[in-house]
């Protein structure tokens, strides 16, 4: 913007200088030409001839008023349209600046050339500067306007340009942030005018699509592995089961077999959970959806888990349990179970867990808050991904799939699972789109007004 302004300034300066300079030069040239012509006449036709020519010139003079004065050696006028020889000194090149009284009584600045003829007589030819000065000030004014306007335009243009650039960069930034918060389907905005920003957006989008398909590929490979390994694993488990049932087995061996069977069960459970997450993520089917009243749902979850809490001397509180949303009742219940299970699992004896709901506008938040060790801020997103377990909980058994499942269920319902600090502890919140509160069923009273014919 600065460069643009400076170049405009230089351009205007050069144009001004040339225009004004040109006008001056033109005046000078006209005067010089007249002087040369008159001197030539004097040389050929003498004093009388020059006087006649000057009179003639004055008579036909149009346009810029010209001053002619022919004077003798003592500067006494002989012919011309000036009464007395003007006061002042000529400069080295014979240029003479003076002023005369105009017809309207104002002083007019005049510029001309004095020529001393061979016999000592003087010739003065001068032109009024008023027109030139008027023109010059007109030009000055025009250039000032042009300069001011140009600068203003430069400022506005620069501002607009940088504003539109910033706006488009911000749009790309916004899309990036959206993607980072987990809305992986978001894409960079494309205006369709195929400029550099569109190209940048298109390239970023192509990159995101590629990443997306790679992730999909990895996911489906993992899911296929889980699916394909389930059958042989189930057979293995069956064999182990048959072995433990064999009569006359010594107790130590039976114990070993049983723990091997438990291991197989864990593996199968993990595969099942993995497949279930995959199914929930890929399922966009809303056939099983119904209007779910959160009150009984939370009540049941609380009832189920307060018993688990009691075993560990943890009190599970149920706060406000209200709200309605559209969704899969079983999946929502499982999400609550996983959250409550985690909260109790990671809390110490004598601790407390709160299950609560808060409605705000068109969303409903279901919160499970504990006083356990919590999850470090840096790991809160990671613990939602499959198999990620925080280093701080390595001593506690878990598959690393529980929160992934909850997160998948939240997303399946158009919501989100958000982990925050409970100071101390973890606060897991399911942000879900809510339904408006159920309208009270109107009580219809049947009134028979009079007899019906």
């Amino acid at each position: 913007m600065g460069v643009f302004g400076a170049s405009a300034l230089v351009l205007i300066g050069v144009v001004w200088w040339t225009t004004v300079g040109y006008l001056e030069q033109q005046t000078n040239a006209t005067i010089e030409a007249q002087v040369t012509g008159l001197v030539e006449q004097y040389r050929q036709r003498g004093k009388r001839g020059l006087e006649a020519l000057i009179r003639e010139r004055i008579a036909v003079s149009t346009g810029v008023p010209t001053v002619y004065l022919f004077a003798d050696r003592d500067l006494k006028p002989l012919a011309g349209n000036l009464d007395t020889w003007p006061a002042g000194e000529a400069d080295a090149e014979g240029w003479y600046n003076f002023s005369r009284l105009g017809e309207d009584g104002r002083r007019i600045s005049v510029r001309g050339q004095v020529f001393v003829l061979s016999d000592g007589r003087h010739l003065l030819v001068a032109q009024d500067q008023s027109r030139l000065e008027a023109t010059r000030s007109l030009i000055n004014e025009a250039f000032l306007w042009a300069l001011g306007g140009g600068l203003l335009l430069a400022l506005a243009g620069g501002f607009l340009m940088s504003y539109s650039v910033m706006r488009r960069i911000e749009a790309i930034n916004r899309a990036s942030r959206e993607i980072m918060t987990g809305r992986l389907q978001s894409r960079m905005p494309v205006r369709g005018i195929n400029d550099e920003f569109d190209q940048l957006s298109e390239n970023l989008n192509a990159m995101l699509d590629r990443i997306d398909s790679l992730i999909e590929g990895v996911k489906s490979v993992a899911d296929n592995i889980a699916h394909d390994l389930r059958t042989p694993l189930t057979r293995l488990r069956g064999r182990l089961e048959n072995l433990t049932a064999r009569p006359g087995l010594d107790e130590e061996l039976r114990g070993e077999l049983t723990s091997a069977m438990t291991e197989a069960d864990h593996l199968l459970a993990t595969f099942r959970a993995l497949l279930r997450i995959a199914r929930i993520e890929s399922d966009t089917n809303e056939r099983e959806w119904s209007d779910v009243d959160l009150h009984p749902l939370l009540q049941d979850a609380w009832e189920l888990y307060q018993a688990v809490g009691e075993e560990k001397e943890i009190v599970v509180h149920l706060g406000t349990a209200s709200g309605r949303l559209r969704g899969d009742r079983d999946l929502l219940f499982q999400a609550l179970c996983n959250l409550l299970d985690n909260a109790i699992k990671y809390s110490g004896a004598g601790s407390e867990v709160l299950l609560d709901t808060t409605a705000s506008g068109d969303t409903i938040d279901i919160t499970v808050a504990d006083r356990g060790p919590g999850v470090p801020a840096a790991e809160r997103d990671k613990v939602l991904s499959r198999f990620y377990r925080s280093a701080s909980v390595t001593g506690i058994p878990g598959s690393g799939l529980g929160l992934s499942l909850v997160s998948a269920i939240a997303q399946h319902h158009g919501g989100r699972l958000v982990l925050t600090d409970n100071n101390p502890g973890l606060r897991a919140t399911l942000h879900l789109p809510a339904l408006p509160p159920a309208e009270a069923t109107p009580v219809v009273e049947l009134a028979f007004a009079g007899a019906i014919p």
């Binding site: 199968l268 279930r276 189920l304 899969d328």
Partner: protein, 231 residues
């Protein structure tokens, strides 16, 4: 272990079919398999089977129609419907069509076996609702008065504990899985994968088994629980 049975599996997914057929054969049962609804229906009407395992989605004739047609022809062979994950809707439809139970994919084989056992041992449909008292050993449960007595001693149960005991009693001597309990006692359909059901069982145990001999609620490793007089 249950006595060997003749089972018909109607499932078009080759992987799932071999998983079920293989498992059932290993458990000592005789198994026929069909990958087609129409063929399966013919087999089911002509063959003398102890149980049917029918996938919900089948080529030609779908699973629900197979079961409905069988029931319409007075064939009461116990039938278990298999369905894709979480389709609770299918459960209702399946049961309405005349199926005896429903299991969602993916399922554990132990789960399938427990449910198969439950439907094949289930007393004949008619009259089953008229049971008012169930007895296992010295434990008596009156379903009408909701009274629970063991060795003549009255036991006080919470409503949910009563429903849990009732379900175990109704399926006495049979393995019930945790998922079956969550489904029938709490009415939620998913695989709990945690010890939450165990906690409720141990609470019930404290009330009905702790002060008495012999224990009636048995843990079946890797499967679930069984309420039975014998260990």
């Amino acid at each position: 272990m249950i006595a060997p049975m003749r089972i018909l599996v109607i499932e078009d997914d080759a992987g799932v079919a071999s998983f079920i057929v293989g498992g059932l054969k290993e458990a000592g049962h005789t198994v026929d398999h069909s990958a087609d609804g129409k063929e399966g229906l013919i087999l089911a009407t002509t063959g003398n089977y102890d149980a049917l395992i029918v996938d919900r989605m089948l080529p030609n004739v779908d699973g629900l129609t197979v079961v409905r047609t069988l029931r319409a022809s007075d064939i009461t062979t116990p039938a278990l419907i298999l369905s894709a994950l979480g389709e609770v809707d299918d459960k209702v439809k399946g049961l309405r069509a005349g199926a005896d139970d429903y299991i969602g994919k993916p399922f554990a084989f132990a789960e399938l076996m427990a449910r198969l056992e439950a439907i094949t041992r289930r007393p004949a449909r008619e009259g089953s609702d008229e049971i008012t008292e169930i007895q296992v050993g010295d434990l008596h449960v009156n379903l009408l008065s909701r009274e629970v007595r063991r060795a003549g001693q009255s036991i006080d149960l919470q409503p949910r504990e009563f429903r849990l005991l009732e379900y175990l009693m109704r399926n006495k001597d049979q393995v019930v899985t945790r998922t079956m309990l969550l489904e029938n006692v709490w009415d939620y359909h998913f695989d709990p994968q945690t010890n939450v059901i165990d906690v409720h069982i141990s609470r019930l145990r404290r009330k009905i088994d702790k002060d008495f001999e012999p224990p009636l609620i048995h843990t079946v490793r890797g499967a679930g629980y069984r309420l039975s007089e014998s260990a």
